[in-house]
Subunit: 275 residues, 2 copies
Protein backbone atom coordinates (compact mmCIF):
# COMPACT_ATOMS: atom_id res chain seq x y z
CA UNK A 1 0.00 0.00 0.00
CA UNK A 2 1.33 3.37 -1.02
CA UNK A 3 0.63 5.96 1.69
CA UNK A 4 1.31 9.54 0.63
CA UNK A 5 1.52 11.93 3.59
CA UNK A 6 -0.32 15.09 2.60
CA UNK A 7 0.61 17.49 5.38
CA UNK A 8 3.29 19.55 3.59
CA UNK A 9 0.86 21.54 1.50
CA UNK A 10 0.91 25.32 1.22
CA UNK A 11 -2.88 25.44 1.49
CA UNK A 12 -2.23 24.89 5.22
CA UNK A 13 -1.45 28.22 6.85
CA UNK A 14 1.48 27.05 8.98
CA UNK A 15 3.10 25.33 6.01
CA UNK A 16 2.61 28.43 3.85
CA UNK A 17 4.29 30.51 6.55
CA UNK A 18 7.16 28.05 6.92
CA UNK A 19 7.78 28.00 3.17
CA UNK A 20 7.82 31.78 3.00
CA UNK A 21 10.20 32.05 5.95
CA UNK A 22 12.32 29.13 4.70
CA UNK A 23 11.77 27.52 8.12
CA UNK A 24 13.53 24.25 7.36
CA UNK A 25 13.22 22.94 10.93
CA UNK A 26 9.42 23.09 10.78
CA UNK A 27 9.23 21.34 7.40
CA UNK A 28 11.70 18.68 8.49
CA UNK A 29 9.60 17.97 11.57
CA UNK A 30 6.48 17.55 9.43
CA UNK A 31 8.33 15.10 7.18
CA UNK A 32 9.80 13.03 10.02
CA UNK A 33 6.45 12.90 11.82
CA UNK A 34 4.63 11.59 8.75
CA UNK A 35 7.25 8.96 7.99
CA UNK A 36 7.15 7.81 11.62
CA UNK A 37 3.38 7.52 11.42
CA UNK A 38 3.57 5.16 8.45
CA UNK A 39 3.79 7.27 5.27
CA UNK A 40 5.69 5.66 2.40
CA UNK A 41 5.92 8.93 0.44
CA UNK A 42 5.83 12.60 1.43
CA UNK A 43 3.75 14.97 -0.69
CA UNK A 44 5.18 18.43 -1.31
CA UNK A 45 2.90 21.18 -2.58
CA UNK A 46 3.70 24.87 -2.88
CA UNK A 47 0.87 25.74 -5.22
CA UNK A 48 -0.69 28.69 -3.43
CA UNK A 49 1.89 31.21 -4.57
CA UNK A 50 2.21 30.83 -8.33
CA UNK A 51 4.94 33.47 -8.69
CA UNK A 52 7.29 31.66 -6.31
CA UNK A 53 6.12 28.05 -6.82
CA UNK A 54 9.21 26.83 -8.70
CA UNK A 55 11.68 28.04 -6.08
CA UNK A 56 9.43 27.02 -3.20
CA UNK A 57 9.02 23.50 -4.56
CA UNK A 58 12.76 23.11 -5.16
CA UNK A 59 13.40 24.20 -1.59
CA UNK A 60 10.78 21.75 -0.27
CA UNK A 61 12.29 18.82 -2.17
CA UNK A 62 15.77 19.53 -0.82
CA UNK A 63 14.60 20.30 2.69
CA UNK A 64 12.42 17.20 3.02
CA UNK A 65 14.92 14.80 1.46
CA UNK A 66 17.66 16.19 3.72
CA UNK A 67 15.51 15.07 6.65
CA UNK A 68 14.06 11.74 5.52
CA UNK A 69 15.18 8.93 3.27
CA UNK A 70 11.87 8.63 1.43
CA UNK A 71 10.64 9.35 -2.06
CA UNK A 72 8.37 12.34 -2.57
CA UNK A 73 5.11 12.98 -4.32
CA UNK A 74 5.65 16.21 -6.23
CA UNK A 75 2.32 17.92 -6.31
CA UNK A 76 1.91 20.53 -9.01
CA UNK A 77 0.06 20.80 -12.30
CA UNK A 78 2.91 22.93 -13.65
CA UNK A 79 5.39 21.19 -15.95
CA UNK A 80 7.99 23.87 -15.19
CA UNK A 81 7.75 23.39 -11.42
CA UNK A 82 7.80 19.60 -11.85
CA UNK A 83 10.86 19.71 -14.13
CA UNK A 84 12.88 21.82 -11.72
CA UNK A 85 11.82 19.90 -8.62
CA UNK A 86 12.49 16.53 -10.23
CA UNK A 87 16.08 17.48 -11.04
CA UNK A 88 16.75 17.67 -7.30
CA UNK A 89 14.82 14.54 -6.29
CA UNK A 90 16.46 11.29 -5.17
CA UNK A 91 14.70 7.95 -5.73
CA UNK A 92 11.56 7.18 -7.73
CA UNK A 93 9.24 10.17 -7.50
CA UNK A 94 5.49 10.34 -7.83
CA UNK A 95 4.28 13.07 -10.14
CA UNK A 96 0.90 14.43 -9.02
CA UNK A 97 -0.89 14.77 -11.43
CA UNK A 98 -2.11 14.52 -14.98
CA UNK A 99 -5.68 14.44 -16.24
CA UNK A 100 -7.23 13.63 -19.61
CA UNK A 101 -6.60 17.23 -20.58
CA UNK A 102 -4.19 16.95 -23.49
CA UNK A 103 -1.95 20.00 -22.97
CA UNK A 104 -1.29 19.22 -19.34
CA UNK A 105 -0.64 15.54 -19.97
CA UNK A 106 1.66 16.18 -22.93
CA UNK A 107 3.77 18.61 -20.93
CA UNK A 108 4.13 16.25 -17.94
CA UNK A 109 4.49 12.84 -19.60
CA UNK A 110 8.03 13.43 -20.93
CA UNK A 111 9.08 14.08 -17.31
CA UNK A 112 7.41 10.83 -16.19
CA UNK A 113 9.41 8.98 -18.80
CA UNK A 114 12.68 10.78 -18.12
CA UNK A 115 12.54 10.07 -14.37
CA UNK A 116 10.77 6.68 -14.56
CA UNK A 117 8.28 8.33 -12.21
CA UNK A 118 5.01 7.01 -10.92
CA UNK A 119 2.22 9.30 -12.04
CA UNK A 120 -1.15 10.09 -10.49
CA UNK A 121 -3.74 10.23 -13.27
CA UNK A 122 -7.01 11.88 -12.32
CA UNK A 123 -9.78 10.25 -14.35
CA UNK A 124 -11.28 13.56 -15.39
CA UNK A 125 -11.04 15.99 -18.26
CA UNK A 126 -11.53 19.73 -18.22
CA UNK A 127 -15.10 19.53 -16.98
CA UNK A 128 -14.43 19.18 -13.26
CA UNK A 129 -15.44 16.19 -11.15
CA UNK A 130 -16.92 13.53 -13.47
CA UNK A 131 -20.58 12.67 -13.07
CA UNK A 132 -20.40 8.90 -13.47
CA UNK A 133 -18.26 5.81 -13.74
CA UNK A 134 -18.58 5.95 -17.52
CA UNK A 135 -17.20 9.49 -17.60
CA UNK A 136 -14.31 8.38 -15.42
CA UNK A 137 -13.57 5.33 -17.56
CA UNK A 138 -13.66 7.47 -20.72
CA UNK A 139 -11.14 9.87 -19.25
CA UNK A 140 -9.00 6.90 -18.21
CA UNK A 141 -9.06 5.48 -21.74
CA UNK A 142 -7.81 8.75 -23.16
CA UNK A 143 -5.07 8.96 -20.51
CA UNK A 144 -3.99 5.34 -21.09
CA UNK A 145 -3.55 6.09 -24.78
CA UNK A 146 -1.45 9.19 -24.10
CA UNK A 147 0.68 7.36 -21.52
CA UNK A 148 1.42 4.48 -23.87
CA UNK A 149 2.05 6.81 -26.81
CA UNK A 150 4.67 8.53 -24.64
CA UNK A 151 6.46 5.20 -24.22
CA UNK A 152 5.53 4.81 -20.56
CA UNK A 153 4.39 1.53 -19.01
CA UNK A 154 0.84 1.62 -17.66
CA UNK A 155 2.18 0.01 -14.48
CA UNK A 156 3.62 3.44 -13.60
CA UNK A 157 0.07 4.84 -13.40
CA UNK A 158 -1.85 5.41 -10.17
CA UNK A 159 -5.42 6.19 -11.25
CA UNK A 160 -7.18 8.72 -9.05
CA UNK A 161 -10.93 8.30 -9.58
CA UNK A 162 -11.66 11.84 -8.35
CA UNK A 163 -13.80 11.27 -5.27
CA UNK A 164 -16.86 13.53 -5.08
CA UNK A 165 -19.24 14.47 -2.28
CA UNK A 166 -21.82 11.92 -1.17
CA UNK A 167 -23.93 14.73 0.28
CA UNK A 168 -24.69 16.10 -3.19
CA UNK A 169 -24.92 12.77 -5.02
CA UNK A 170 -26.06 9.77 -3.06
CA UNK A 171 -24.59 7.36 -5.59
CA UNK A 172 -21.19 9.07 -5.66
CA UNK A 173 -19.46 6.79 -3.19
CA UNK A 174 -20.65 3.56 -4.82
CA UNK A 175 -19.84 4.93 -8.25
CA UNK A 176 -16.24 5.68 -7.37
CA UNK A 177 -15.89 2.31 -5.61
CA UNK A 178 -17.08 0.58 -8.78
CA UNK A 179 -14.65 2.73 -10.79
CA UNK A 180 -11.73 1.58 -8.65
CA UNK A 181 -12.64 -2.04 -9.28
CA UNK A 182 -13.12 -1.50 -13.02
CA UNK A 183 -9.89 0.47 -13.45
CA UNK A 184 -7.87 -2.28 -11.77
CA UNK A 185 -9.58 -4.94 -13.92
CA UNK A 186 -9.33 -3.01 -17.20
CA UNK A 187 -5.72 -1.86 -16.90
CA UNK A 188 -3.87 -4.82 -15.47
CA UNK A 189 -0.88 -3.99 -13.31
CA UNK A 190 -1.96 -0.39 -12.73
CA UNK A 191 -2.80 1.05 -9.35
CA UNK A 192 -5.40 3.31 -7.77
CA UNK A 193 -4.96 6.12 -5.30
CA UNK A 194 -7.13 8.87 -3.93
CA UNK A 195 -7.71 11.42 -1.26
CA UNK A 196 -10.75 10.73 0.88
CA UNK A 197 -11.82 14.09 2.21
CA UNK A 198 -14.03 15.11 -0.72
CA UNK A 199 -16.44 12.26 0.05
CA UNK A 200 -17.62 13.90 3.29
CA UNK A 201 -17.89 17.49 2.06
CA UNK A 202 -20.85 19.22 3.71
CA UNK A 203 -21.36 16.56 6.39
CA UNK A 204 -20.48 16.48 10.09
CA UNK A 205 -17.91 14.16 11.73
CA UNK A 206 -16.08 13.88 8.44
CA UNK A 207 -13.30 11.65 9.67
CA UNK A 208 -15.77 8.82 10.32
CA UNK A 209 -17.02 8.95 6.73
CA UNK A 210 -13.52 9.37 5.29
CA UNK A 211 -12.01 6.43 7.10
CA UNK A 212 -14.98 4.14 6.51
CA UNK A 213 -14.80 5.00 2.83
CA UNK A 214 -11.10 4.14 2.80
CA UNK A 215 -11.99 0.63 4.01
CA UNK A 216 -14.67 0.23 1.34
CA UNK A 217 -12.32 1.38 -1.44
CA UNK A 218 -9.48 -0.86 -0.27
CA UNK A 219 -11.92 -3.78 -0.48
CA UNK A 220 -12.37 -2.86 -4.16
CA UNK A 221 -8.61 -2.91 -4.73
CA UNK A 222 -7.44 0.61 -3.87
CA UNK A 223 -3.69 0.32 -3.25
CA UNK A 224 -2.73 3.93 -2.65
CA UNK A 225 -4.03 6.78 -0.52
CA UNK A 226 -3.20 10.43 -0.02
CA UNK A 227 -3.89 11.16 3.62
CA UNK A 228 -2.64 12.61 6.86
CA UNK A 229 -0.85 9.58 8.35
CA UNK A 230 -0.76 11.22 11.78
CA UNK A 231 -4.54 10.91 12.02
CA UNK A 232 -4.65 7.82 14.17
CA UNK A 233 -8.21 6.83 13.37
CA UNK A 234 -7.55 6.95 9.64
CA UNK A 235 -4.31 4.98 9.95
CA UNK A 236 -5.98 2.46 12.28
CA UNK A 237 -8.71 1.85 9.74
CA UNK A 238 -6.10 1.36 7.02
CA UNK A 239 -4.18 -1.15 9.11
CA UNK A 240 -7.33 -2.99 10.21
CA UNK A 241 -8.54 -3.23 6.62
CA UNK A 242 -5.24 -4.76 5.55
CA UNK A 243 -5.70 -7.40 8.25
CA UNK A 244 -9.29 -8.10 7.14
CA UNK A 245 -8.33 -8.33 3.47
CA UNK A 246 -5.64 -10.90 4.30
CA UNK A 247 -2.87 -8.46 3.36
CA UNK A 248 -1.05 -8.27 6.68
CA UNK A 249 0.90 -11.48 7.26
CA UNK A 250 0.31 -12.77 10.79
CA UNK A 251 -1.26 -9.34 11.54
CA UNK A 252 2.28 -8.14 12.23
CA UNK A 253 1.82 -4.60 10.88
CA UNK A 254 -1.30 -4.18 13.00
CA UNK A 255 0.30 -5.60 16.13
CA UNK A 256 3.45 -3.54 15.61
CA UNK A 257 1.37 -0.37 15.24
CA UNK A 258 -0.36 -1.23 18.51
CA UNK A 259 2.98 -1.69 20.27
CA UNK A 260 4.24 1.62 18.92
CA UNK A 261 1.02 3.31 20.06
CA UNK A 262 0.09 4.30 16.52
CA UNK A 263 -3.44 2.91 16.73
CA UNK A 264 -6.35 5.06 17.84
CA UNK A 265 -7.45 4.74 21.42
CA UNK A 266 -10.16 2.15 21.57
CA UNK A 267 -13.23 1.99 23.75
CA UNK A 268 -12.63 -0.64 26.38
CA UNK A 269 -14.83 -3.11 24.57
CA UNK A 270 -15.54 -6.33 26.35
CA UNK A 271 -17.01 -8.77 23.89
CA UNK A 272 -20.44 -9.70 25.17
CA UNK A 273 -21.16 -12.98 23.48
CA UNK A 274 -19.85 -15.00 20.62
CA UNK A 275 -22.31 -15.02 17.75
CA UNK B 1 -30.93 -2.58 8.75
CA UNK B 2 -31.79 -4.79 11.67
CA UNK B 3 -29.76 -3.82 14.75
CA UNK B 4 -30.00 -6.28 17.62
CA UNK B 5 -28.76 -4.84 20.91
CA UNK B 6 -26.73 -7.55 22.64
CA UNK B 7 -26.22 -6.09 26.11
CA UNK B 8 -28.87 -8.09 28.03
CA UNK B 9 -26.88 -11.30 28.13
CA UNK B 10 -26.25 -13.32 31.27
CA UNK B 11 -22.64 -13.88 30.25
CA UNK B 12 -22.15 -10.30 31.46
CA UNK B 13 -21.64 -10.31 35.21
CA UNK B 14 -23.92 -7.35 36.00
CA UNK B 15 -26.73 -8.79 33.90
CA UNK B 16 -26.34 -12.19 35.53
CA UNK B 17 -26.61 -10.52 38.93
CA UNK B 18 -29.63 -8.47 37.89
CA UNK B 19 -31.43 -11.55 36.57
CA UNK B 20 -30.75 -13.48 39.74
CA UNK B 21 -31.94 -10.60 41.94
CA UNK B 22 -34.90 -9.86 39.63
CA UNK B 23 -33.61 -6.30 39.42
CA UNK B 24 -36.15 -5.05 36.88
CA UNK B 25 -34.98 -1.43 37.07
CA UNK B 26 -31.48 -2.38 35.91
CA UNK B 27 -32.75 -4.49 33.01
CA UNK B 28 -35.23 -1.78 31.96
CA UNK B 29 -32.42 0.77 31.89
CA UNK B 30 -30.33 -1.49 29.67
CA UNK B 31 -33.24 -1.91 27.28
CA UNK B 32 -34.10 1.79 27.12
CA UNK B 33 -30.46 2.75 26.62
CA UNK B 34 -30.03 0.37 23.69
CA UNK B 35 -33.22 1.48 21.99
CA UNK B 36 -32.19 5.11 22.40
CA UNK B 37 -28.82 4.33 20.83
CA UNK B 38 -30.46 2.93 17.70
CA UNK B 39 -31.25 -0.75 18.32
CA UNK B 40 -34.26 -2.08 16.42
CA UNK B 41 -34.45 -5.27 18.51
CA UNK B 42 -33.31 -6.18 22.02
CA UNK B 43 -31.58 -9.50 22.54
CA UNK B 44 -32.41 -11.41 25.73
CA UNK B 45 -30.15 -14.25 26.86
CA UNK B 46 -30.25 -16.09 30.17
CA UNK B 47 -28.22 -19.05 29.08
CA UNK B 48 -25.60 -19.20 31.80
CA UNK B 49 -27.86 -20.86 34.36
CA UNK B 50 -29.42 -23.86 32.65
CA UNK B 51 -31.51 -24.88 35.65
CA UNK B 52 -33.32 -21.51 35.80
CA UNK B 53 -33.13 -20.49 32.13
CA UNK B 54 -36.83 -20.93 31.34
CA UNK B 55 -38.02 -18.75 34.21
CA UNK B 56 -35.22 -16.23 33.75
CA UNK B 57 -35.98 -15.83 30.05
CA UNK B 58 -39.72 -15.42 30.70
CA UNK B 59 -38.93 -12.74 33.27
CA UNK B 60 -36.59 -10.97 30.83
CA UNK B 61 -39.19 -10.92 28.05
CA UNK B 62 -41.83 -9.43 30.32
CA UNK B 63 -39.46 -6.98 31.99
CA UNK B 64 -37.96 -5.68 28.76
CA UNK B 65 -41.26 -5.39 26.91
CA UNK B 66 -42.78 -3.57 29.87
CA UNK B 67 -40.07 -0.94 29.38
CA UNK B 68 -39.77 -0.62 25.61
CA UNK B 69 -42.09 -1.01 22.67
CA UNK B 70 -39.70 -3.11 20.60
CA UNK B 71 -39.53 -6.70 19.43
CA UNK B 72 -37.00 -8.99 21.03
CA UNK B 73 -34.42 -11.44 19.85
CA UNK B 74 -34.88 -14.50 22.03
CA UNK B 75 -31.48 -16.01 22.39
CA UNK B 76 -31.44 -19.66 23.43
CA UNK B 77 -30.71 -22.97 21.76
CA UNK B 78 -33.37 -24.58 23.98
CA UNK B 79 -36.76 -25.25 22.40
CA UNK B 80 -38.39 -25.34 25.81
CA UNK B 81 -37.04 -21.92 26.82
CA UNK B 82 -37.99 -20.50 23.42
CA UNK B 83 -41.53 -21.90 23.61
CA UNK B 84 -42.21 -20.43 27.04
CA UNK B 85 -40.62 -17.07 26.27
CA UNK B 86 -42.43 -16.75 22.94
CA UNK B 87 -45.82 -17.17 24.61
CA UNK B 88 -45.21 -13.90 26.46
CA UNK B 89 -43.71 -11.95 23.57
CA UNK B 90 -45.53 -9.13 21.75
CA UNK B 91 -44.76 -8.39 18.08
CA UNK B 92 -42.66 -10.36 15.61
CA UNK B 93 -39.83 -12.04 17.51
CA UNK B 94 -36.44 -13.13 16.31
CA UNK B 95 -35.49 -16.64 17.35
CA UNK B 96 -31.73 -16.98 17.88
CA UNK B 97 -30.79 -19.56 16.63
CA UNK B 98 -30.86 -22.74 14.61
CA UNK B 99 -27.97 -24.50 12.87
CA UNK B 100 -27.80 -27.31 10.34
CA UNK B 101 -27.97 -29.72 13.25
CA UNK B 102 -31.19 -31.60 12.64
CA UNK B 103 -32.48 -32.17 16.19
CA UNK B 104 -32.06 -28.54 17.17
CA UNK B 105 -33.61 -27.22 13.97
CA UNK B 106 -36.56 -29.62 14.08
CA UNK B 107 -37.39 -28.62 17.66
CA UNK B 108 -37.22 -24.89 16.93
CA UNK B 109 -38.79 -24.62 13.47
CA UNK B 110 -42.37 -25.35 14.61
CA UNK B 111 -42.04 -22.34 16.93
CA UNK B 112 -40.80 -20.18 14.06
CA UNK B 113 -43.85 -21.15 12.08
CA UNK B 114 -46.32 -20.77 14.95
CA UNK B 115 -45.10 -17.25 15.79
CA UNK B 116 -44.22 -16.16 12.24
CA UNK B 117 -40.83 -15.39 13.75
CA UNK B 118 -37.67 -14.31 12.08
CA UNK B 119 -34.97 -16.89 12.68
CA UNK B 120 -31.21 -16.60 12.89
CA UNK B 121 -29.67 -19.57 11.07
CA UNK B 122 -26.00 -20.17 11.79
CA UNK B 123 -24.43 -21.70 8.70
CA UNK B 124 -22.71 -24.45 10.63
CA UNK B 125 -23.38 -28.02 11.69
CA UNK B 126 -22.15 -29.82 14.73
CA UNK B 127 -18.49 -29.37 13.88
CA UNK B 128 -17.96 -25.87 15.26
CA UNK B 129 -16.97 -22.86 13.21
CA UNK B 130 -16.88 -23.89 9.52
CA UNK B 131 -13.54 -23.86 7.76
CA UNK B 132 -14.60 -22.39 4.41
CA UNK B 133 -17.30 -20.74 2.34
CA UNK B 134 -18.18 -24.12 0.86
CA UNK B 135 -18.77 -25.59 4.31
CA UNK B 136 -20.96 -22.63 5.18
CA UNK B 137 -22.95 -22.88 1.95
CA UNK B 138 -23.46 -26.63 2.49
CA UNK B 139 -24.84 -25.99 5.98
CA UNK B 140 -27.08 -23.27 4.52
CA UNK B 141 -28.45 -25.65 1.88
CA UNK B 142 -29.40 -28.17 4.55
CA UNK B 143 -31.04 -25.45 6.66
CA UNK B 144 -32.95 -24.03 3.68
CA UNK B 145 -34.40 -27.46 3.01
CA UNK B 146 -35.50 -27.93 6.61
CA UNK B 147 -37.00 -24.43 6.76
CA UNK B 148 -39.02 -24.94 3.61
CA UNK B 149 -40.08 -28.45 4.64
CA UNK B 150 -41.45 -26.89 7.83
CA UNK B 151 -43.65 -24.60 5.72
CA UNK B 152 -41.70 -21.45 6.53
CA UNK B 153 -40.80 -18.79 3.95
CA UNK B 154 -37.06 -18.38 3.42
CA UNK B 155 -37.60 -14.63 3.73
CA UNK B 156 -37.94 -15.19 7.49
CA UNK B 157 -34.33 -16.38 7.62
CA UNK B 158 -31.40 -14.26 8.76
CA UNK B 159 -28.29 -16.25 7.85
CA UNK B 160 -25.44 -15.89 10.32
CA UNK B 161 -22.24 -16.90 8.53
CA UNK B 162 -20.44 -17.64 11.82
CA UNK B 163 -17.58 -15.16 11.86
CA UNK B 164 -14.24 -16.67 12.88
CA UNK B 165 -10.95 -15.18 14.02
CA UNK B 166 -8.72 -13.55 11.42
CA UNK B 167 -5.73 -14.05 13.74
CA UNK B 168 -5.87 -17.81 13.28
CA UNK B 169 -6.93 -17.87 9.62
CA UNK B 170 -5.82 -14.99 7.46
CA UNK B 171 -8.49 -15.72 4.86
CA UNK B 172 -11.32 -15.91 7.40
CA UNK B 173 -12.58 -12.38 6.98
CA UNK B 174 -12.67 -12.49 3.19
CA UNK B 175 -14.24 -15.91 3.27
CA UNK B 176 -17.15 -14.80 5.43
CA UNK B 177 -17.56 -11.64 3.35
CA UNK B 178 -17.84 -13.77 0.22
CA UNK B 179 -20.30 -16.03 2.05
CA UNK B 180 -22.55 -13.08 2.87
CA UNK B 181 -22.63 -12.10 -0.79
CA UNK B 182 -23.29 -15.66 -1.96
CA UNK B 183 -26.03 -16.32 0.61
CA UNK B 184 -27.90 -13.18 -0.44
CA UNK B 185 -27.53 -14.11 -4.12
CA UNK B 186 -28.45 -17.80 -3.69
CA UNK B 187 -31.45 -17.36 -1.41
CA UNK B 188 -33.30 -14.35 -2.78
CA UNK B 189 -35.21 -12.33 -0.23
CA UNK B 190 -33.30 -13.74 2.72
CA UNK B 191 -31.13 -11.68 5.03
CA UNK B 192 -27.75 -11.89 6.75
CA UNK B 193 -26.80 -11.00 10.29
CA UNK B 194 -23.79 -11.57 12.49
CA UNK B 195 -21.89 -10.58 15.56
CA UNK B 196 -18.53 -9.02 14.83
CA UNK B 197 -16.42 -9.68 17.90
CA UNK B 198 -15.13 -13.12 16.89
CA UNK B 199 -13.22 -11.60 13.98
CA UNK B 200 -10.77 -9.80 16.27
CA UNK B 201 -10.20 -12.61 18.77
CA UNK B 202 -6.59 -12.61 19.96
CA UNK B 203 -5.77 -9.15 18.56
CA UNK B 204 -5.41 -5.76 20.26
CA UNK B 205 -7.72 -2.77 19.74
CA UNK B 206 -10.53 -5.09 18.79
CA UNK B 207 -13.15 -2.40 18.28
CA UNK B 208 -11.21 -1.01 15.30
CA UNK B 209 -11.19 -4.40 13.59
CA UNK B 210 -14.81 -5.14 14.52
CA UNK B 211 -16.21 -1.90 13.19
CA UNK B 212 -14.11 -1.92 10.03
CA UNK B 213 -15.31 -5.45 9.35
CA UNK B 214 -18.90 -4.32 9.82
CA UNK B 215 -18.40 -1.81 7.00
CA UNK B 216 -16.87 -4.44 4.72
CA UNK B 217 -19.71 -6.90 5.37
CA UNK B 218 -22.41 -4.27 4.83
CA UNK B 219 -20.80 -3.56 1.44
CA UNK B 220 -21.40 -7.25 0.62
CA UNK B 221 -25.07 -6.98 1.57
CA UNK B 222 -25.16 -7.67 5.32
CA UNK B 223 -28.48 -6.26 6.54
CA UNK B 224 -28.45 -7.25 10.19
CA UNK B 225 -26.01 -7.02 13.06
CA UNK B 226 -25.87 -8.16 16.66
CA UNK B 227 -23.89 -5.50 18.51
CA UNK B 228 -23.71 -3.16 21.44
CA UNK B 229 -25.49 -0.11 20.01
CA UNK B 230 -24.14 2.09 22.80
CA UNK B 231 -20.63 1.70 21.42
CA UNK B 232 -20.45 4.98 19.58
CA UNK B 233 -17.60 4.04 17.26
CA UNK B 234 -19.41 0.92 16.10
CA UNK B 235 -22.70 2.76 15.58
CA UNK B 236 -20.91 5.63 13.80
CA UNK B 237 -19.33 3.19 11.37
CA UNK B 238 -22.72 1.60 10.72
CA UNK B 239 -24.33 4.97 10.02
CA UNK B 240 -21.42 6.16 7.85
CA UNK B 241 -21.52 2.95 5.83
CA UNK B 242 -25.22 3.41 5.16
CA UNK B 243 -24.43 6.89 3.81
CA UNK B 244 -21.63 5.54 1.60
CA UNK B 245 -23.76 2.69 0.25
CA UNK B 246 -26.48 5.16 -0.75
CA UNK B 247 -28.86 3.74 1.87
CA UNK B 248 -29.41 6.88 3.94
CA UNK B 249 -31.67 9.29 2.06
CA UNK B 250 -30.23 12.79 2.16
CA UNK B 251 -27.85 11.50 4.88
CA UNK B 252 -30.65 12.23 7.34
CA UNK B 253 -29.98 9.31 9.70
CA UNK B 254 -26.33 10.31 9.90
CA UNK B 255 -27.07 13.99 10.43
CA UNK B 256 -29.74 13.19 13.02
CA UNK B 257 -27.31 10.97 14.91
CA UNK B 258 -24.81 13.83 14.92
CA UNK B 259 -27.43 16.23 16.31
CA UNK B 260 -28.38 13.75 19.01
CA UNK B 261 -24.70 13.29 19.88
CA UNK B 262 -24.80 9.61 19.02
CA UNK B 263 -21.72 9.74 16.76
CA UNK B 264 -18.24 9.09 18.09
CA UNK B 265 -16.13 12.11 18.89
CA UNK B 266 -14.06 12.89 15.85
CA UNK B 267 -10.56 14.26 15.57
CA UNK B 268 -10.81 17.85 14.53
CA UNK B 269 -9.84 17.03 10.99
CA UNK B 270 -9.27 19.95 8.71
CA UNK B 271 -9.16 18.66 5.16
CA UNK B 272 -5.74 19.55 3.80
CA UNK B 273 -6.27 19.48 0.07
CA UNK B 274 -8.77 18.20 -2.40
CA UNK B 275 -7.42 15.27 -4.35
Amino acid sequence: MLIVGERINSSRKRIRKAIKARDAAFIRKEAVKQLGAGATHIDVNAGTSISTEVDDLKWLVQTVQAAVDAPLCIDSPSAEAQAEALKLHRGQPIINSITAEEDRAQSILPLVREHDALVVALTMGTGGIPASKDDRMQAAAKIAEMVQDAGIELTNVYWDPAVSAVSTDQKAALDVAATVRELMATYEGTHTICGLSNISFGLPNRNILNRTYLALLMAQGLDGVIMDPTEKHMMSTLLATQVLLGKDDFCMKYITAEREERLAACENHKPIAAS
